[in-house]
């Protein structure tokens, strides 16, 4: 358990650095936070920003082809989810999905890898791992039908339920 948290931390640091690199030209109002390897600081900041609102949060996050990396917008959203999940005892299902490209069994594994990436990030934010269940549907339950990139982009996703 400790080992997996450590690995997760390492990954988060790498992601944070990567996000920093790719964000240099865009607005840095929130982007700056992600250049810091100190993950805990991010959490504090977000709590202040989000404590007022309880409107339902967007519960789907999206990925690039054959990727399970969390982009900066996704991480920001997940931090807000984590704020609500912490302390709450209710179980949450993380449903990983893939697009139609590639093979079905590999996509089942890819969906799980994406859901695991979301789980690891939420755990890093202090959410109890015992409350998070990962399930992958691969490409078997597309959100949008159609053999085009717009549909595929909507299908490479993790749904937080």
């Amino acid at each position: 358990m400790l080992k997996s948290v450590k690995t997760g931390l390492g990954l988060a640091c790498v992601l944070a650095v990567m996000a920093g690199c790719s964000n240099t030209s865009s607005d840095n109002t929130s982007g700056e936070e992600y250049t810091q390897p100190e993950v805990d600081t991010q959490v504090e900041t977000s709590v202040v920003e989000e404590s007022e609102t309880l409107a339902p949060l967007e519960n789907v996050v999206y990925f690039d082809f054959d990727q399970s990396l969390l982009n900066p917008e996704t991480r920001e959203l997940l931090i807000r989810h984590a704020d609500r999940m912490r302390g709450a005892a209710s179980a949450v299902r993380l449903e990983g999905h893939a697009d139609e490209l590639g093979t079905r069994e590999y996509n089942l594994a890819l969906g799980e890898r994406r859901a695991n990436a979301v789980r690891d990030f939420l755990v890093l934010q202090g959410v109890d791992a015992a409350n998070l269940e990962v399930i992958s549907y691969g490409e078997e339950r597309p959100a949008q039908m159609g053999s085009n990139e717009a549909a595929r982009a909507m299908n490479r996703r993790v749904v937080i339920n």
Binding site: G102, R104, Y106, A109, V134, M145
Partner: protein
């Protein structure tokens, strides 16, 4: 020889219950070899009353045409309809360029039919064989496929696979909700019938080596689980219920084990389940995705997909030593390997200039060849004679099945009249 043939068809009679006509797949031939052998299957005589429910000689013609190796003479072009080798006027058929003629006679039996058929070589002007196939009331198609197998083998030297079947997954909409059906049909798409209907996704059907059972993955419990199902009795057993992925079941050639993928250790690993003892043995140890195992015919090693090198590629795992060797090096996406019955060729899903196609690779030389020009091709499944493979592709937004020969010369489609179809699994021989 003939005795064993009769026995087989009689055995099928017990297994196959007559079912009403359902949505079938319709064959649509898209390409054949340049110089197919001209053959005439003369309409068979029927000595019973009324009209037969099936056009037996027509089914044999269609089987031979679908193989791509034959160009059957259309009935309209035949100058006569010989019923026996003695009726054949060789000069007429030589003018047509016909190399072989099949004649046949169907007789009623106590409960079924007896087909006596002859294969005649036109240029040699001699009869090659006379054989008989017997079947029950509902088995005219079985009789036709069995006769086509005999004709095909006699001329090409390759065992015919027209009597084999396939299973596939059909997705339908019922009252706005998706419904997933495990279907079973003749290999030409006819006589499609439901094995089982599910309200959650079902995937990865695989035949047991004796053709009596299926293994597949169903999400009916809320997570993917592996089931085995006996096709005769309908008896079903859930084999796995681990946390995470339970997928890609595949029977060992001797039928005693099932290789599969479990992610209970944190990421997908290949396991082998001993069916008699229920014991699971972990075969791979790697933090990457390891999936889609398939057995080599000798049962001593598995091929599988792994992205341990950064992209999905195909690897071989020697079971005795645990040694893993990479097999594919061409391209950045090679996955879901299947091994030909002689163990010499891999077929796989291969990304070629951005599209997903079916490719073969000669295992010895590593030489890769793309077989298909369609895109979004997946789930290749090889015929037990190693001559053709069935795969899933898309036409427009609709999932269809298609077939291609392993030398890429012959191609045909099997579009469904209803719903999306995918994940074909070609049966083994049933005898």
């Amino acid at each position: 020889m003939i005795k064993s043939l009769l026995k087989t068809v009689v055995i099928i009679a017990i297994a196959s219950v007559s079912l009403g006509v359902r949505a079938q797949l319709v064959v649509d031939i898209t390409s054949g070899i340049d110089d197919p052998t001209p053959i005439a299957v003369s309409p068979f005589s029927w000595s019973g009353g009324g009209v037969l429910a099936e056009d037996v000689s027509g089914i044999i013609s269609a089987d031979l045409r679908r193989s791509g190796l034959f160009s059957p003479v259309p009935k309209e072009d035949m100058l006569s309809f010989p019923k026996t080798p003695e009726d054949v006027v060789f000069r007429d058929w030589r003018i047509l360029g016909t190399e072989y003629i099949v004649t046949g006679r169907i007789e009623p039996q106590a409960s079924g039919y007896l087909l006596t058929f002859d294969l005649v070589n036109v240029f040699g002007q001699h009869k090659m064989f006379t054989k008989q196939v017997r079947g029950g009331q509902t088995q005219l198609r079985d009789i036709a496929h069995r006769a086509a197998d005999e004709i095909f083998q006699s001329i090409t030297g390759i065992r015919g696979a027209f009597s084999t079947e396939m299973v596939y997954v059909q997705e339908e909409k019922r009252a706005g909700k998706p419904s997933y059906v495990l279907m079973r049909s003749d290999i030409d798409g006819a006589r499609a019938k439901q094995v089982r209907r599910f309200s959650a996704p079902v995937m990865s059907p695989m035949w047991s080596p004796n053709g009596q059972e299926l293994a597949y993955v169903s999400f009916e419990t809320g997570r993917p689980a592996i089931f085995r199902e006996n096709l005769r009795s309908g008896e079903r057993k859930q084999l796995t219920n681990f946390k995470g992925i339970n997928s890609s079941p595949t029977w060992s050639p001797d039928g005693t084990k099932l290789a599969m993928v479990l992610s209970k250790d944190g990421n997908p690993e290949i396991y082998v389940l001993d069916l008699a003892s229920g014991k699971f043995t972990r075969m791979t140890r790697h933090f990457s995705i390891d999936t889609e195992p398939n057995w080599m015919p000798d049962g001593k090693s598995l091929v599988f997909t792994s992205d341990r090198g950064g992209k999905p590629q195909i690897y071989q795992l020697t079971l005795a030593t645990g040694q893993v060797d990479r097999l594919t090096f061409d391209g950045d996406y090679n996955a879901r390997p299947r091994v030909s019955p002689d163990g010499k060729t891999l077929v796989m899903v291969h990304r070629n200039r951005g599209t997903f196609t079916i490719a073969t690779m000669d295992i010895n030389s590593g030489r890769m060849r793309v077989l298909t020009e369609t895109t979004l091709d997946e789930s290749p499944s090889i015929a037990p004679n190693g001559a053709m493979l069935m795969y899933a592709t898309k036409r427009g937004d609709k999932g269809i099945l298609a077939a291609v020969s392993l030398d890429a010369g012959v191609k045909y489609n099997l579009p469904s009249q209803r719903g999306d179809v995918r994940e074909p699994a070609w049966s083994p021989y049933f005898d």
